[in-house]
Amino acid sequence: MAHRPLRGHDLAQRNVLMRPLPAADYDVVVAGGGNAGLCAAIIAAEAGARVLLAERATEASRSGNTRHTRNIRDSHPAADGFVSGPYPEAEFLADLESVTGVKNGELARLVIAESVSLASWMHGHGVAWQPPLRGTLGLSRTNHFFLGGGKALANAYYRELRRLGVEVRYETSVIDVVLDGGTCLGVVLALRDGARVTVPCRALVVAAGGFEANLDWLAEYWGPRAKGFVVRGTPHNDGTLLRVLLDRGARAVGDPKGVHAIAVDARGPSVDGGIVTRLDTIPLGIVVDRNGRRFYDEGEDLWPKRYAIWGRLIAERPGQLAYSIVDGPALERVIAPLYPPIEARSIDELAERIGVDRAALRKTIDAFGRAVVPGHYDPDRLDSCRTEGISPPKSHWARRLEAPPYFCFPLRPGITFTYMGVMVDRDARVQWHGEPVSNIYAAGEVVSGNILPTGYLAGLGLTIGSAFGRIAGRQAARHART
């Protein structure tokens, strides 16, 4: 994937089919048709720029991982019928710092400040919010939920692009940039029919996501373990453009090995399973690996605070497989899982059915049972049911597995996004080693490492994408018009 820097003057020597697009005079090219790219394209078009948006997917599968999102975290002064109360900027910042450990990050504060105007801006561009379904009790205080989910959001934005006359090209990818000194002169597009064309532009917004769908790239950091990963979202986020930028000297941010991963059902699709293959049974039972051993405290904290660590945990287990084992009453406590559980009337039968050593599994379950301390069971709060004298412990909701049939779900790490991206400044301009390029901007997952180098806050990906999407679009349009 390493590219020799392409200069304006050697375009002609390059094996590039010089076929102009119908309107080849663009102020701004936006690479990627997810939330960040859409925000950038809308803002740039509203500022009067002539915009081309290149979306790699087909129209039916457009908008990348935005399709799989559901809500956005935004600072707001008061309840508005769709959120239950105020979410001050300071509290947002404190929440963010508590997961990243980074104090007072400049870009974090910028994103949070931008988020204040987001809800009304989004609504003004056709996004509808989900009203409370069963009284205000069901409302979130911090996050606005999109009516119909992320694809509805993307649909609204694509309608805005149509209204604004933005040219949208599906099955079209930006695969390279044409640099001349400190300026990006244009981009190389791979078109639907496989042809490659060079398109001049005055500014470029890179919003093409991370590289979580590129298992080969992940294998550079994870080794063969990457082969055991499931990609939860779009297969198109292979990091093509991220690699181009890094090769050309863009500064990287974020841990290359960093992935946000949750536990998903191992029987789900290898890509694009979205939300439905997640498993929420983990805190209600025990989790063993292929050797039949427990490896982490299943009851460490409330599940919404812990679900996001289990992908990484399972990624480190042999074969990247683990098994959540519960009994019947626990199964009723969670949203009905998509795939039927593997059911067994005894531990031995279960061991056989999942291919785990019988003696090892029985030993684990017996030892766990002996360590359980009597307590008052309450799955809705941190209860007093815990273990003693066992490692790892189970701190809450620990109960003996003694009521067959047993139910088991096989788990794999399901990757949601990668943390490594390109460094940007307050204007979303990509930062470079050596000579800077003045007119390449970035937004969305590819810049999230600037704000969220580690950890996760629900709905923050959309906040970063929207905030930096708008900044990038604004700055790109301004650069193109001057």
Binding site: R134, G148, V231, Q320, I335, P340
Partner: protein, 413 residues
């Protein structure tokens, strides 16, 4: 494929990929004859995916009703399908529609189940089958109706009935006797309601009931009637539904309101005319400025306008989320409704000319055809939909008061 390909530690064979949503295969003992097994299984598969996703829960009543369940038996599928207003929004906002391998297409599946409902609960079944796609069967019934009307007219008024101008009080009845209209219309109304009502009762029985639901009382019924009259669920959860294409719109809702309230106005007109004639002894035709004519004309125009709008929207709508049989059934019903109303309006305009006799016969034939086919066509959706809305209100009532359902909103993630 379970997980990515390649040199992966293999998932044990009994964990291999299974068709999604086989957690609750249709139990043959609770299988309903109206639902074919393939359709039932596909419905269960799709509904289980929806229940694991829940992104659509704000769109309409169907998705909260899905969330109240953990498994979907045939009765659940029937209820959910008849609760669905075919607004299409869920199709356009779903990340799992084809080409995704989950192949979620709720509106089409629901339409198929509704079509099976209307056909399966109709009596006699063969007549419903005869009218299944409404085309040839409907045409035959209309021809038959026309023959009956013309024959009756000839028998009553002789061969000049269709060609000579007749005016003054009772003019219509010199072409066609009142009793010959009144008796069949009354009989067919009673029979039609009985047939459709029996179907809905069977549907209600098959949907199933629980003690919590039975304990509810009248308020849920009033709520359901309100839901039906306001077309609450043709709003896509607020902004309008994505019909006829991916863009929120209230066009279909307003077109449907025109048709329904036009129908209601026509009913008022008929009732007023009956009162005029039977109580005050004033025979039609009534003056243009009279209440029966004003209500009738307003209703006719509304139904014609609304019907044309509904048809035009339907023709513009995408076929992918539609069931073809229901698509035909819808169009047949709209066509019949237009036929009744266009002939009715033409009769109003031509009633003082020699064309009156012909128009009266055409109109009566259309009305007879409408009556004959009503229990076997799209019209019955009004009853099944209201029944489903009632059941939904009962469930929500039970959920609020008894707390029967385990329901937790997914936390933001």
């Amino acid at each position: 494929m379970p997980g990515p390909d390649g040199a992966v530690p293999p998932v044990p064979t009994d964990l291999a990929w299974r068709t999604v949503g086989s957690a609750t295969p249709g139990d043959p003992s609770v299988r309903l004859p109206v639902l074919e097994m393939d359709l039932l299984r596909d419905a269960q598969r799709q509904l289980e995916i929806c229940n694991a996703c829940r992104y659509c829960e704000g769109i309409c009543a169907v998705f909260p009703a899905i969330e109240r369940r953990r498994a979907f038996q045939a009765g659940d599928v029937l209820l959910l399908a008849n609760l669905c207003h075919d607004c299409r929004t869920c199709y356009y906002v779903c990340p799992f529609t084809p080409p995704h391998q989950f192949e979620i297409n709720i509106p089409r599946m629901m339409s198929r189940v509704r079509e099976a409902t209307y056909r399966g609960y109709a009596w006699p079944r063969w007549l419903a089958q005869f009218l299944v796609d409404q085309g040839p069967g409907l045409a035959l019934i209309l021809l038959f109706s026309l023959a009956v009307a013309v024959a009756a007219s000839f028998l009553w008024a002789g061969p000049t009935a269709l060609t000579s101008a007749r005016t003054g009080p009772g003019a219509f009845y010199t072409v066609f006797p009142w009793l010959w209209m009144f008796v069949p219309a009354t009989l067919l109304t009673v029979v039609g309601f009985a047939v459709a009502g029996l179907g809905v009762l069977h549907f209600w029985r098959d949907v199933g009931s629980s003690s919590a639901v039975r304990a509810a009382g009248a308020r849920p019924l009033l709520g359901a009637i309100g839901d039906a009259l306001t077309l609450r669920y043709l709003d896509g959860g607020g902004p309008g539904c994505d019909y006829p294409e991916e863009s929120p719109s209230r066009a279909r809702k307003w077109a449907h309101h025109l048709v329904f309230w036009g129908f209601a106005a026509a009913f008022v007109s008929t009732t007023l005319a009956f009162v005029q004639q039977e109580i005050f002894g004033v025979l039609p035709p009534y003056p243009y400025a009279s209440a029966p004519v004003l209500f009738g004309a307003a209703g006719g125009i509304a139904m014609i306008g609304g019907g044309i709008a509904l048809w035009a929207l339907k023709l513009r709508s995408e076929r992918a989320p539609a069931s073809l049989v229901m698509f035909a059934k819808d169009q047949a019903f709209i066509a019949l409704l237009l036929l009744v109303n266009v002939t009715g309006m033409a009769l109003l305009l031509l009633r003082d000319t020699p064309g009156m006799g012909i128009m009266l016969n055409l109109h009566l034939a259309a009305v007879l055809g409408f009556y004959l086919t009503a229990p076997y066509g799209k019209l019955v959706h009004a009853l099944y939909r209201t029944g489903a809305l009632f059941r939904d209100r009962l469930e929500r009532h039970a959920e609020l008061t008894v707390g029967t359902a385990v329901w937790t909103r997914s936390a933001p993630r």
